[in-house]
């Protein structure tokens, strides 16, 4: 039972890791991607439609990336090039994404009597490794996206802290003028990190529809984009911290689902577990001190000042 709980926790952590690492990279460059919830939703929808229409999960995920990119590009253009407020723009895109997905879903499929189904991504058991007791089934009997995350964590850390582009990204969030004076295009760096967040957020969204549920509903994301957003804060703008934060959230979500299925509601109200990750966000955000906030987070860069 413990094994299946942990396995479930890791699975639920996968999209949160995609999302929060994307957020870490973007926020390090000064872009608070508040559109992340909308990007998730677009990804979930794009992934579902792509898979449903072609029957190929691979094409579905490509479609999810594309949908995420579209949402991110709109956000990037409005915030970076038109210099609009990042929180306001993000909120607008989140509302817009919910509307567009619902609308296009009805245009394409009408209102079907039974929910449209696709088969979720299969679990892939890694030979040898999956045979390790406890560890094996938890870590090495997951779907392909979880394995991608394994690579993503060290890769993103390496990118941010060991490469010149990482230094550029971090400097852009701290003092874009220094980056400009060094002959680097500040807005291009920021647009790139936002697009990257679009790609990774799109995949995260697809995880819910293509990877796990095998269907699409308009409330499929249900605030998990915001959880990824919060994890970025909790993780102190560091991929390592994001892992830690995500594990906590993945665990509570797995417990909630588990309790629901075994009827733990006779002892605790089920809603408590559903609410737990959100309560935790509030408590941890308030209690966490000494934030390592990028100095120019959320501030548009213009040369004339």
């Amino acid at each position: 039972m413990i094994i299946s709980l942990l396995k479930r926790a890791l699975m639920m952590s996968t999209p949160l890791l995609f999302g929060s690492i994307a957020e870490v990279i973007a926020e390090r460059s000064g872009m608070m991607v508040t559109a992340i919830e909308g990007i998730f939703l677009m990804g979930a929808w794009g992934g579902f439609v792509g898979t449903y229409l072609t029957g190929s999960a691979f094409i579905g995920i490509l479609a999810a990336i594309l949908s995420g990119l579209v949402a991110a590009a709109v956000y990037g253009v409005v915030c970076i090039y038109l210099k609009q407020h990042q929180v306001v723009t993000g909120t607008a895109i989140n509302v817009l994404a919910a509307g567009i997905c619902t609308y296009l879903q009805r245009v394409l499929f009408g209102v079907p009597t039974a929910p449209l189904k696709i088969s979720p991504l299969p679990e892939i058991a890694i030979p040898v490794l999956s045979k390790i007791p406890v560890m094996g089934p938890v870590f090495f009997q997951q779907n392909i996206l979880t394995y991608v995350v394994y690579l993503l964590i060290p890769a993103s850390y390496f990118l941010l802290f060991k490469t010149s582009f990482g230094l550029t990204i971090r400097s852009t969030g701290e003092n874009p003028e220094a980056v400009d004076v060094a002959g680097i295009n500040v807005n291009a760096v920021r647009f790139f990190t936002v697009l990257l967040a679009g790609v990774m957020g799109g995949i995260a969204g697809a995880f819910y529809s293509v990877g796990y549920l095998g269907m699409f509903t308009t409330n499929i994301i249900g605030g998990r984009g915001w959880i990824a957003f919060a994890i970025c804060f909790l993780g102190n703008w560091n991929p390592k911290g994001a892992v830690l934060g995500t594990v906590v959230f993945g665990l509570t979500e797995a417990i909630a689902i588990y309790m629901q299925s075994v009827g733990g509601g006779s002892y605790f109200p089920n809603e408590l577990f559903i609410a737990l990750p959100y309560l935790l966000t509030i408590i941890l955000t308030v209690s966490r001190r000494n934030f390592n906030v990028p100095a120019k987070l959320g501030v548009a860069y213009s040369k004339e000042n």
């Binding site: 490469t163 010149s164 400009d180 004076v181 002959g183």
Partner: protein, 506 residues
């Protein structure tokens, strides 16, 4: 004739309808120190930003060794060996010295150990002692500037442009900088520095370009000119700085403002102000000199009531006002011109008239029959516009549309009105041009004559020497001493500002 190292030919730049630079032509030779002298808004920084590729010229050419070059971005400029140090440093303060220096100059995976070594070697070549692993925010301003210079040297720069490099330095730090400039140019490199300080121009420059209103008004050899001529070229007219009349010694003066043993300290932190005691007489300008950030702002806020003291007393005409509110102090006649007018002294989107009543909006004098007396407000503002020579369309114009100097005059007019007894001024001429500075200095001396006690905080030593009767030097929140005007000279005050206590301290 030799071909000049770099040459600008007929460069012009327009911002919307405003001419920023018109027909700028000058050259700089190898091994030469060129000073670009002019008032604020004369277009000095703009032309240098064009040379550095941050702005694009609308007309004109840039030549290097006689060949035309297209410089469209700082990358192009750097490739030609040009570097520019901005007035406000462009360092990432949360990053280390090494990270700052290699930003944009390395590719791919960073070998930090190798980079550190390179930076250390470079730094020792010029005798800089810089901790390469320290975060920039932990370094003193003078050291941060050296980091900026190292950034340029790392790029093998041969033309170094510096925008107001001494503005933030103590006299001794400025001295070190000038030595570096001499050393650097002796190796065949060139330096252009932008400044409005006459003294350093005469000290280090080989040649001086004077600019006014976006045009060049003079191209002179430093040996063949003098400060009077330069001022005339800069201003377009002769200017007589106001003279402080000697105070009448015989008359018994009354103490106007007194601070006794004032300390401000937050729990677990070093004191912001420690044990400050002084008196300001009526009709006296009491100067506080020091490098900015040593407690000047806190001192002013203690007097105006914005910052409560941890211990000690503030007395106005002998009455204890230590625990009175800001508003009570305004009522009692304390005026305050804060250092950051945009943040603390004005609302940009409001009109001149509204800004004039900003701090006394509760006062009955603005009210007639329960409504705002617009007519009185208009008249009073118009009077201030005339008296203080404020260049503005009228009392109903938005204050943000005015130049910095004129905004400052509005604030000064308001605070002079508020200051029945004491006027506090925190760097009242920072960032203003000579004309506005002159105007404000005249007003300060007029208030002194009116018998007000004036607390003048300034980082400009010339201003301190010109206006103050007595001078206190502040360093890390405490006074290094209080001196009569004649007791100090630049060198002595510089050492005090840097925290060197004198042996025979009274």
């Amino acid at each position: 004739m030799n071909t000049p190292f770099f040459e600008l030919k007929n460069v012009s730049k327009y911002f919307a309808r405003v001419v920023a630079n018109k027909d700028i032509s000058f050259s700089v030779n190898r091994g030469e120190v060129l000073a670009l002298l002019g008032e604020n808004g004369a277009g000095k920084s703009t032309v240098m930003k064009i040379l550095y590729g941050l702005y694009k010229a609308d007309e004109g050419q840039i030549l290097m060794d006689g060949k035309e070059q297209k410089i469209t971005s700082p990358k192009d400029a750097m490739a030609l060996g040009i570097s520019m140090i901005q007035q406000h440093f462009s360092l990432v303060s949360a990053h280390t010295v090494t990270e700052n220096i290699i930003l944009g100059n390395v590719n791919g995976v960073i070998d930090y150990e190798k980079c550190k070594k390179e930076v250390e070697e470079l730094s020792s070549q010029y005798g800089f002692q810089i901790p390469v692993d320290a975060k920039v925010e932990e370094l003193a301003v003078g050291v941060q500037q050296k980091v900026e210079i190292l950034k340029a040297l790392y790029l093998k720069t041969s033309l170094l442009i510096m925008d107001e490099p001494t503005a933030v330095l103590t006299p001794q730090e400025a001295e070190t900088l000038m030595e570096f400039v001499k050393e650097y140019t002796s190796r065949g490199n060139s330096v252009i520095f932008i400044t409005h300080k006459m003294k350093e121009v005469m000290e280090v420059a080989d040649r001086i370009i004077v600019m006014r209103n976006g045009r060049i008004t003079g191209d002179l050899s430093a040996k063949e000119t003098n400060e009077v001529e330069l001022t005339r070229l800069m201003m377009g007219k002769e200017m007589v700085p106001p003279k402080r009349e000697q105070a009448e010694e015989q008359k018994e003066k009354k103490v106007c403002l007194e601070l006794s043993s004032v300390t401000v300290q937050r729990k677990g932190e070093p004191p912001l102000l420690s044990d400050l005691s002084f008196q300001i007489m009526e009709g006296e300008v009491f100067g506080v000199a020091g490098v900015s950030g040593n407690g000047q702002e806190e001192l002013c806020e203690v007097v105006c009531g914005a910052l409560p003291v941890t211990s000690g007393k503030v007395l106005l005409n002998g009455t204890d006002i230590t625990s009175t509110s800001i508003r009570e102090r305004i009522d009692q006649g304390i005026g305050y011109v804060p250092v950051d007018r945009y943040r603390d002294a004005m609302v940009g989107e409001m009109t001149l008239a509204e800004n004039m009543m900003l701090k006394t909006s509760f006062d009955k004098k603005w009210i007639s029959h329960g409504f705002l007396n617009k007519k009185k407000l208009q008249n009073d503002t118009q009077k201030a516009i005339d008296e203080f020579d404020i260049k503005a369309p009228g009392p109903d114009a938005q204050i943000k549309g005015l130049s910095g100097g004129n905004q400052q005059k509005v604030i000064l007019a308001r605070e002079v009105g508020n200051a029945g007894k004491v006027l506090i001024m925190d760097q009242p001429t920072r960032g203003l041009d000579l004309g506005a500075i002159n105007n404000i200095h005249n007003n300060i001396l007029a208030e002194r004559k009116n018998g007000k006690g004036i607390l003048l905080v300034s980082t400009e030593l010339s201003e301190i020497f010109q206006l103050c009767d007595r001078i206190a030097v502040i360093y890390k929140g405490s006074f290094m001493g209080i001196y009569d005007h004649d007791q100090l000279n630049t060198e002595r005050i510089g050492l005090l500002m840097a925290g060197y206590k004198e042996e025979k301290e009274a």
